[in-house]
């Protein structure tokens, strides 16, 4: 009698363990299915890809995006130009806080609309005795008209630091500084640990909280692997100085759209460029210079 009940107990226990194990496996599979792309699971790091792998990866991506969004995508991997080091200048006496740069960037770089990601934050500061007082600045100003009297505006995005703290802390080298000075992210290598976000002093890095939803008619199909191609969820992204445009000689989208010409862009290594002229003739400063990150984003009045 006792033995029988013991056997029953054993059978019940075994049955329970089996069903539990199956349930767990099923749940895990269901949970993972939305996240893992087995096709490109073993894809190498961008810097380690040989030409063949790079071309085949770009083709796979183009096919994937074209299928998802129903439009023909181009994914490039344009190399940095020889002899370039990009710098950015921002004229604070002219910025009116209209946010046209913010939304031009969103459209050019295929940022998710929901949940919203903006690569540029325009901070509104009160004119007065305090300098750039970030604690009392706000980016949620919403007046009928800008510029508002008594305020000035500072747009902040990735500063492309020469000694960037974000690249220093990434555990898998998913973010690095390219030869032309742009700090880029390999979205297929990033593990989403968000250490770089903790390290960035400028709040320039953003995390994809959900699967990107970009309206099909607003999407930009001219993309770069390290730049504005649609990102998967769970990776970090940030401004790339419009790498898909600037490496072909064009201005970034924000510089082109600014209605008051407050944004200047150019090659720091070219002595005749406007960015060099700006640095030499205007009183330039950079944000949080005491951090010694050596940003390449110069503000001036």
């Amino acid at each position: 009698m006792e033995k029988k009940s013991k056997n029953e107990k054993e059978i019940n226990r075994r049955g329970f363990m089996k069903t539990a194990a199956l349930g767990v496996a099923g749940l895990a599979a269901q949970g993972c299915s939305g996240n893992i792309n087995f096709d490109r699971f073993f894809q190498s790091h961008f810097k380690q890809m040989d030409k063949e792998e790079l071309l085949s990866t770009l083709k796979k991506l183009e096919a994937e995006y074209s299928a998802t969004y129903g439009r023909q995508f181009v994914v490039k991997a344009t190399k940095p130009m020889e002899g370039t080091l990009f710098g950015y200048g921002l004229d604070l006496s002219r910025c009116i806080g209209c946010r046209k740069c913010v939304y031009a960037c969103v459209e050019e770089n295929n940022q998710i609309r929901d949940p919203q990601i903006h690569w540029i934050s325009v901070m509104r500061n009160k004119k007065g005795d305090k300098w750039i007082d970030l604690e009392n600045a706000t980016r949620y100003y919403d007046p009928k008209e800008v510029p508002e009297d008594g305020y000035f505006y500072i747009p902040i995005g990735c500063q492309m630091c020469e000694q960037s703290p974000c690249t220093k802390v990434c555990p898998v080298q998913a973010t690095w500084k390219e030869a032309d000075g742009i700090v880029v992210v390999d979205y297929d290598w990033c593990i989403g640990c968000r250490y770089c976000m903790a390290a960035c002093p400028y709040g320039a890095r953003h995390f994809n909280l959900a699967q990107p939803q970009i309206p099909k008619d607003e999407i930009n199909t001219n993309t770069h692997y390290l730049g504005n191609r649609p990102r998967p969820k769970g990776v970090v992204e940030k401004c790339t100085f419009c790498v898909q445009r600037t490496r072909e000689g064009k201005y970034p989208a924000c510089a082109e759209i600014c209605p008051v010409g407050a944004r200047k862009f150019g090659n720091l290594l070219d002595p005749d460029s406007e960015i060099r002229y700006l640095i030499e003739h205007k009183r330039v400063f950079r944000l949080k210079e005491d951090m010694n990150t050596q940003p390449k984003f110069y503000y001036f009045f």
Binding site: P115, L134, A198, C200, F207
Partner: protein, 409 residues
């Protein structure tokens, strides 16, 4: 060799046999683990939007728990030193309980960090040779290395010593590894502290005092947890724990809690007296900032708990009273859990780098995953204990002898 493996499986079988209380406990833990698993799969499916993690506060409840548990893991060394270096007999008898706790804590740490990743399937990117670990620049790689190393060391020591006890032989061969585990335990928590410390973007963490604070709080919360757990073990198993061992550990807690509060005082003085803009996180913690003061009640609770616990532990008459001791341990665990978990991670991000305040409270999903991982930890501890105790008390030896007699006959 074959005999050794067979003996190992005989010992393993003990996991599956126990009384109704044991099955009830395991069943309860499995249910909570299931909740955790459901929550985690929901998070994997929909992304981090289901948590409260946003750009402004990019680390939250998972990393808070991780930080607390690394401290608990490091605290095992407080048992190792008296046991193996000073051969203090009462502690030596129970040092394996501390080692099991360290192993469990490390496992939980690994689970918390994995739960916090946007792409956990890409963890292989951090492995040497197949991935591209950013060594020696990134502290996260160092942390992974030392934590896994600590896990490996503890498992090795634990299994080796256990096997030697089972065979009745001396385990002195593993002494070098035991000696190594002492500075290694300190280093795991120092590296975790450096992970926060090396970020000038977060002035709340960028203080030289952070690593000492971590160690001080670890060495009072870990042993407090151990005291409570050991008493439970003594209650539900055949193990006897010498009260002297508990008293010794309690004494150590007194000193480390005093140090912890002193270091907190140093930090508070520096920020409040200097009155620079970097005062903002501390002000947010204790008094609220710009109308946001939801964290203050929690932080004051932690402070009051810690001070009360210090009083209990400092006075020998109080700390030797078993009920007061347990209350004190409970207060320390809650106090340090708040201070080192939530009260470390959130103020580091508040205000954000652009001066914004985002009030972070974990969502149901985060809470679900967290309790699931804690339940997993409890399960690992229970199973390891179930495996170890019979070996320790000699039961397994008798079982193995019986099996061999059967086989011969």
């Amino acid at each position: 060799m074959l005999g050794k493996i067979r003996n190992f499986f005989i010992a393993m079988k003990n996991i599956f046999h126990g009384g109704p209380l044991y099955y009830g406990w395991i069943g309860f833990l499995l249910v909570i683990m299931l909740i955790g698993l459901l929550a985690y799969s929901f998070q994997l499916k929909h992304g981090f939007i289901v948590t409260s993690i946003r750009d402004e506060v990019s680390w939250g409840f998972y990393i808070a728990n991780f930080t607390f548990l690394v401290g608990v893991a490091a605290a095992a060394v407080l048992l190792v030193v008296p046991a193996y270096i000073y051969h203090f007999a009462p502690v030596k008898e129970i040092v394996f309980l501390g080692e099991i706790m360290a192993i469990t804590a490390i496992c939980m740490c690994i689970m918390f960090v994995t739960a916090d990743l946007g792409h956990p399937e890409r963890l292989w990117h951090m492995a040497p040779f197949v991935g591209r670990p950013n060594f020696p620049s990134s502290l996260l790689v160092w942390d992974v290395l030392v934590l896994n190393g600590y896990l490996f060391i503890n498992l090795t020591i634990f299994l080796f010593v256990l096997y030697k006890i089972y065979e009745g032989k001396s385990y002195s061969a593993i002494m070098p590894l035991i000696i190594l585990s002492i500075p290694w335990a300190v280093s795991i928590h120092t590296v975790t502290a450096f992970l926060y410390n090396g970020l000038p973007a977060r002035p709340f963490w960028n203080a030289g005092i952070l690593a000492p604070r971590f160690l001080a709080s670890a060495f009072c919360s870990g042993p407090a947890m151990m005291i409570l757990v050991f008493q439970l073990v003594a209650k539900f198993t055949k193990i006897n724990i010498d009260v002297k061992a508990i008293q010794k550990v309690a004494e150590l807690i007194a000193y480390t809690m005093a140090l912890n509060l002193f270091l907190l005082g140093c930090e508070v003085f520096k920020e409040f007296y200097s009155n620079s803009v970097h005062l903002a996180p501390l002000q947010y913690m204790y008094f609220g900032l710009h109308g946001h003061n939801s964290l203050a009640p929690l932080m004051w609770t932690a402070l009051i708990f810690n001070v009360t616990a210090l009083v209990i532990f400092l006075i020998p008459a109080l700390r030797n009273h078993i009920t007061l001791l347990n209350i004190g341990c409970f207060l320390i665990i809650i106090g340090v859990y708040i201070e080192k978990g939530f009260g470390l991670v959130i103020p580091g991000f508040t205000p954000s780098t652009l001066g914004e305040i985002y009030v972070y409270w974990p969502t149901k999903i985060e809470l679900g995953v967290t309790i699931g991982i804690w339940a997993t930890g409890a399960l690992i501890y229970t199973l390891l204990l179930k495996f170890t105790l019979p070996v320790y008390t000699g039961e397994t030896h008798l079982q193995a002898q019986a099996k061999r007699k059967e086989a011969d006959a």
